[in-house]
């Protein structure tokens, strides 16, 4: 097994590029959310720093970095610092398997527009989603505050409940594609054969589960500010506090990318191959298609947040266990029956 150093250099460049785009994307998703919410609620929103308030996210980050870092005296100091690191680390690692485009030819070298082309892509996503629960649960427990504990418990119960229907919805995708590789799943969605058309119920259950996993309204019970102050991040301040928000918005962007990849055809632009464009422009168009689809899903997340009110906790749990879980199980059974009828001979 020889290690190809040029390949590793290319990988490092790809990772740094994607992380910089992701972190900038997080900053501007926060800005967009504030502007869109202001528009929906008939307010103005941030508009003072820079043209139309565009420098606001940078100023916010600088302010948060310079704030005092407070750790409550009864807290478990190590886990208190570890929890935001887990949340952010998980959010930043999930992008590794998402294909942003097909192959691009740069300097006579064929480069795959995906950081890690592993054959267990879907499982990797599920594994990291499960790890995300630890960050929130540990932050709730280690703060030694009652609000944090309740927020952390609620969050962990909610996230594991919806993880089930997320896993079962993904099974439908795996079933009709016969692979875990995300790049193959995207390649199978040529033309209008998007998985959203082949798996409509699976798409809805996955979308709802994605909202619940990212703790966004209508599933933001863990940080229901009217009852739990700040939920699991009540006792956090300065950059550790900001890291939870960074993780939340990074998760929103990553979920949007995953939804695009799995259900909305990824970088596939219907019938683009038939136009006969040069490969370079085609690659750029594919990346742009992917980005535009992902941005639409992010805007959808924001739109839902400012439109739908929060669930009550018992409603949340009964939705998860009594509707989402049976619905995604049924989707799996129906999908397997259809696959059997089409392929059995």
């Amino acid at each position: 097994m020889t290690v190809n150093w040029i390949e590793i250099l290319i990988t490092v460049i790809k990772i740094l590029l994607v992380q910089i785009i992701l972190l900038t994307g997080v900053a501007y998703t926060v800005y967009t959310e504030r502007r869109v919410s202001a528009f929906i609620q008939n307010r103005i929103g941030p508009n003072r720093v820079g043209p139309a308030g565009l420098l606001q996210p940078i100023v916010d980050v600088v302010k948060l970095l310079m704030k005092e870092d407070i750790v409550p005296n009864q807290a478990n100091r190590f886990i208190h610092s570890l929890a935001p690191a887990i949340s952010v680390g998980v959010a930043l690692c999930t992008v590794a398997v998402i294909p942003f485009g097909d192959k691009i030819i740069l300097f006579g070298r064929e480069i795959k527009l995906q950081i890690a082309s592993v054959n267990i892509g879907v499982l990797y996503i599920l594994a990291l989603v499960s790890l995300g629960v630890y960050g929130i649960t540990l932050s709730g427990w280690s703060s030694n505050s009652k609000y944090s504990l309740l927020g952390g418990l609620r969050a962990s119960a909610q996230m594991i409940s919806y993880e089930l229907s997320m896993g079962l919805s993904l099974l439908g995708i795996v079933l009709i594609n016969g692979t875990f590789e995300l790049d193959t799943i995207v390649l199978n969605q040529y033309g209008w054969k998007w998985n959203i058309i082949l798996q409509p119920i699976g798409f809805i259950t996955f979308l709802v589960a994605a909202f619940a996993e990212t703790n966004r309204t209508p599933f933001d019970l863990p940080e229901a500010e009217q009852e739990l102050v700040g939920g699991y991040h009540t006792e956090y301040s300065s950059m550790k506090f900001a890291l939870f928000f960074l993780a939340e918005y990074a998760n929103v962007i990553v979920s949007a990318c995953i939804i695009t990849t799995l259900y909305l055809g990824g970088w596939q632009f219907p019938y683009l191959q038939t136009f006969g464009i040069s490969p370079m422009i085609m690659s750029i168009l594919q990346i742009l298609t992917f980005l535009i689809k992902a941005i639409f899903v992010v805007l959808f997340f924001i739109w839902i947040r400012w439109t739908i009110p929060r669930f009550r906790y018992d409603q949340l749990m009964s939705l998860g266990w009594k509707i989402m879980l049976p619905a995604s199980l049924l989707n799996l059974v129906v999908t397997s029956i259809i696959v059997l009828l089409l392929k059995y001979n």
Partner: protein, 122 residues
Amino acid sequence: MLTDYIPIVIIMTIALVIAVVFIRFSTLFGPRKPNREKLSPYESGMEPVGTAREKFSVKFYMVAVSFIVFDIEIVFLYPWAVSFLNLNGEKMLYAFIVAMIFIVLLAVGLIYEYKKDVLKWD
């Protein structure tokens, strides 16, 4: 095959570095003026009563136990789902029937939980 995972190791290292830099930054450059009030856990401005390491509702454990059962179901179904399309004829029918028996057994478990009011929050 194993070389496919090198990028994942690299991205995890980079994510860890980013997280540690962010966490250390404000402790290094931020002000540090602690006092007793600032360091006590927030409890609506009152003196904290007792500790947060208390008993909590058994419902959360019930959710965790049900989660483990169904999560393992999903884990068992993944190898079936990924190879189902590549089977043919008799083998496909056999795989289908076996998986359906498995899913029905767990669906019965879910109905039992539902009837026993395990999934009910009050």
